[in-house]
Amino acid sequence: SQQGEEDPQALSIQEGENATMNCSYKTSINNLQWYRQNSGRGLVHLILIRSNEREKHSGRLRVTLDTSKKSSSLLITASRAADTASYFCATPGNSGNTPLVFGKGTRLSVIA
């Protein structure tokens, strides 16, 4: 089944810097979602971007989608220590009404 692939696998930045994570996927999608997971906890939905959207904002989060390149990026501006978590992209399965497929995630560490 299709799987989004996040890049980089791990990212370490200083508090106040911006963090950018990327996701690439293989086949056409109708939406792409980003989730966050704090250590040892469940995932929390951050944002959904539809295939006809190019950019979406939510607070300090900015998500872009380039369907021609089959890629998305998640930008966290002015990062805080509390943003330390793993971030996953998720896309629908290959066809029809199928469950989401999650990538392996980017582990973000924000150093105070």
């Binding site: 469940g42 939905h45 009404n97």
Partner: protein
């Protein structure tokens, strides 16, 4: 707020035991999912259900079964636990299409000795 709860945060079982992991959601969602999460492998879908008494295999159903007798409850069953089933188990629910936004429980870390 949507709430998805899982019966245990941590569980330790012995090889060969039958293990039940319970998941309950309070938002009347049609869809429920069970994943396992292992380092380096990400989330892998075990089983999902789109209605009461309906179940579908995910990517890694071997060694597991599920039960959905009521809309709010989705149980994962390990008939005979093995050490390679030591993992973090995550339950999620959603409404509408299967690829819509999912709401996750806190996870159960299962150790099989």
């Amino acid at each position: 707020d949507v709430k998805v709860t899982q019966s245990s945060r941590y569980l330790v079982k012995r090889t060969g035991e039958k293990v039940f992991l319970e998941c309950v959601q309070d938002m009347d969602h049609e869809n429920m999912f069970w994943y396992r999460q292992d380092p380096g492998l990400g989330l892998r879908l075990i089983y999902f259900s789109y209605d009461v008494k309906m179940k579908e295999k995910g990517d890694i159903p071997e060694g597991y079964s599920v039960s959905r007798e009521k809309k709010e409850r989705f149980s994962l069953i390990l008939e005979s636990a093995s050490t390679n089933q030591t993992s973090m188990y995550l339950c999620a629910s959603s409404s509408g299409r299967l690829y819509n936004e999912q709401f996750f429980g806190p996870g159960t870390r299962l150790t099989v000795l």
